[in-house]
């Protein structure tokens, strides 16, 4: 049972299939994931006992996001104008490279040496830590889960609970080897050790980095939710705060955040509210005694405008990053988040990553699903994830040359042979004489079909044609009746 994290896991998106195979053999991982997901599933349900209340709120959440997206460019401009008026500097980045350059510029202008980070999935998209480190700036994660996986040079396995794949013994051993602390698997002691190390880092940091849960256009407010207090520390102790977020996080007004917050925290953790909801609308004012002197917001596109361009795929951008789809996914629960090799794992990861990275880099993601529908059923903003997965599968097998090109990397699973086969299948089914002859032969010669049919029979039993075709059976049935 003491199996370690399987060392050969190659955490790149192209390796989903082989990673999944390896992860399935990792008993420790599967035990840890199963128990964590079961607990998150039941907590969510306990916090949403009234089905009418839940369903009405999901519907409202969906409509609020849809409305915000229907006026996204206007809301972004309104947000920018209000934030600027209030003293928050707004930056725009089309790519993660641009976003990293913006952050680095701010850091270098302040001669920053140390950066402390609250939890931000967008900063993971940017690989911001690696970028800053390359330029001689220490970037330290302060969310407990993020801190743990950073110590182990891993990537988050879950967007809300980054280190959920590890148990307390594994964390104890990690702290023993990396921090030279005496071994303990007592969670309280482990957290207190991390607290005292990170407090000093908050104290020293030149810059604090955070994500954003909702950016309110009407008031120019950045709203952040968290339980630990590291988000508040990162955004109020260092002299500079940089918030990084995707362009889809903007909502029209403050009241829109009421249902969205309730949906977010209950779907994610089964909590009616998180310990802290931190609303930031300006840097330190002249009469204030603390808070950052400079606040920056970096708005990142990184493929989002591609999803936005198609009204069906646009629904991907409803996501409020609660993680409920992961918790309820039979695939995610068995292989864990790292196997996906993408920043966003699980069902939402499978529909958003192809936009961020291109289908050519995520060729297996749209099909790594049983389409059981659980993700769509629990999504607090009603993203039709299974339908979007089917749509991405279509884009994935289109000819790479077919116009218009809706997705980067279109047709990464296109095969001329397969296309020809289906063309033939279509022809066969649309020619009555051919069809009749074919089915007659198939039903009579069915016993001669091979037992091994390449990759198909690795996971399925070989198909055996029935003794009589449906046509024949129906005919017989009608004859009998008359």
């Amino acid at each position: 049972m003491s199996s370690q994290r399987i060392p050969t896991l190659d955490v790149t998106a192209q390796k989903l299939k082989s990673n999944a195979r390896l992860s399935l053999k990792d008993q420790q991982l599967r035990t840890n994931m199963r128990s964590a997901m079961d607990s998150l599933i039941s907590k969510r349900l306990i916090s949403m006992p009234d089905e009418d209340e839940r369903e009405n709120l999901r519907e409202l959440g969906n409509k609020i996001k849809a409305r915000a997206l229907s006026q996204l460019p206007d809301l972004l401009e309104q947000l920018e104008s209000n934030l600027t008026k209030q003293g928050i500097q707004v930056h725009w980045a089309s790519t993660t490279e641009e976003a990293n350059a913006i952050v680095l510029n701010i850091a270098q202008a302040r001669n920053a040496k140390q950066v402390i980070k609250g939890k931000s999935m967008v900063s993971e998209e940017m690989a911001m830590n690696e970028h800053l480190t390359e330029h001689g700036i220490e970037a330290l994660e302060s969310d407990m889960g993020e801190y743990i996986i950073q110590l182990d040079n891993e990537k988050p396995t879950h967007i809300i609970m980054p280190a959920i794949h590890k148990n307390a013994q594994q964390v104890g051993k990690l702290f023993e080897s990396r921090l030279a602390l005496p071994y303990t698997d007592d969670v309280d002691s482990l957290i207190q050790s991390a607290r005292s190390i990170l407090r000093e880092k908050f104290f020293q940091a030149d810059i604090g980095i955070s994500g954003v849960n909702f950016a309110v256009a009407e008031t120019g407010t950045l709203l952040l939710v968290e339980n630990e207090g590291n988000g508040r520390m990162s955004t109020s102790v260092p002299p500079v705060h940089i918030a990084v977020t995707g362009i889809e996080k903007v909502v029209a007004n403050l009241q829109d955040t009421v249902p969205l917050l309730s949906l977010l925290t209950r779907s994610a953790l089964g909590q009616g509210i998180t310990t802290y909801v931190n609303m930031i609308s300006a840097p330190r004012q002249p009469d204030e005694l603390d808070g950052p002197e400079e606040v920056h917001l970096v708005l990142l596109d990184n493929g989002r405008s591609q999803a936005f361009a198609d009204s069906e795929l646009r629904q991907t951008l409803n996501c409020i990053r609660c993680g409920a789809c992961m918790n309820h996914c039979p695939v995610y629960t068995r292989i864990g988040g790292q196997a996906y090799g993408t920043v966003y794992p699980g069902p939402i990861g499978k529909i958003i990553s192809p936009h961020l990275l291109g289908l050519e880099n995520t060729p297996d993601h749209p099909s790594a699903s049983s389409l059981c529908g659980a993700c769509g059923e629990v999504c607090p903003v009603k993203i039709p994830i299974p339908a979007l997965l089917r749509r991405l599968r279509e884009e994935n097998v289109k000819s790479p040359k077919q116009q218009p090109q809706i997705m980067a990397g279109q047709g990464s699973r296109y095969s001329a042979k397969e296309r020809l086969l289906w063309k033939g299948w279509q022809y066969f089914n649309s020619q009555p004489l051919l069809y009749k002859t074919g089915t007659f032969l198939a039903t009579r010669l069915g016993k001669f079909t091979p037992n091994k049919l390449g990759p198909w029979t690795q996971n399925h039993s070989a198909p055996k044609p029935a003794k009589h075709s449906l046509h024949e059976l129906a005919k017989k049935h009608l004859e009998k009746k008359s």
Binding site: F203, G229, T275, L289, D290
Partner: protein
């Protein structure tokens, strides 16, 4: 073309020929399920806050200063960060003076840069007012201000907050209707001491912020 123009142009092009959707907001969905009778508000807030490890004490507008001193004495804490210019700061200072209390009151009266080390290492507790409370979720609304800056309710290991019962709203939607306009530079909802469940989903309190939160609920009806 700047990134800004590129992004906005692309989004606008995608929306060409469409109209913004109508505002779907329906206040009853976020208000009605979370309404309480006045006496229930206190019970619910206390129950929810206690469930996440906060201490809630019902007290009166006369008795609370003595309660602060008693709670601190029980914890062998002899220093408290409190804003001397606020009404509650003055009330506490008066009480301590009249009672010859051994409690040392500290003021956050200079920029953080001038006493960051002291705040981080030598302030065991802080005492702040609150803007409001929220019954539905067991929440305090706290507005940092020049008198009670942001770090006051965050860095010291113990945070004591004063909440008037008359300022408890049923739910977040109702509380929001009474927020300051324009929004202050920072506004906080606090629903317990800092916590984490990042290791094996085991709940641990005192992650990065206060390890303990005490709410003095003043019955001012």
């Amino acid at each position: 073309m700047s990134a800004r123009d590129k992004i906005l142009a692309s989004l606008r092009q995608s929306l060409e020929g469409t109209q913004p959707l109508a505002n779907p907001f329906d206040a009853s969905l976020v208000d009605k399920p979370w309404r309480y009778k006045p006496e229930e508000r206190i019970t619910r807030l206390k129950e929810l806050m206690t469930a996440v490890h906060s201490e809630v004490h019902l007290t009166s507008s006369q008795a609370w200063p003595a309660l602060v001193c008693k709670l601190l004495a029980e914890r062998a804490i002899n220093k408290l960060l409190v804003a001397p210019t606020t009404a509650h700061g003055k009330a506490l200072a008066n009480y301590c003076k009249n009672e010859n209390s051994a409690l040392k009151l500290l003021a956050y009266d200079r920029p953080i840069e001038e006493w960051k080390r002291e705040l981080f290492d030598e302030v065991p507790a802080s005492f702040t007012g609150t803007l409001a409370g929220i019954a539905a979720t067991g929440t305090l609304v706290v507005q940092p201000s020049p008198a009670e800056p942001r770090l006051m309710s965050l860095v010291p290991p113990l945070h004591i907050a004063l909440l008037k019962a008359s300022q408890i709203y049923d739910n977040l939607y109702q509380a929001q209707q009474h927020w300051p306009k324009p929004m202050p530079s920072n506004l906080l909802l606090i629903s317990g001491p800092s916590k984490t469940a990042d290791i094996e989903q085991v709940l641990a309190y005192g992650a990065h912020g206060p390890k303990d939160l005490i709410v003095l609920l003043v019955d001012d009806a």
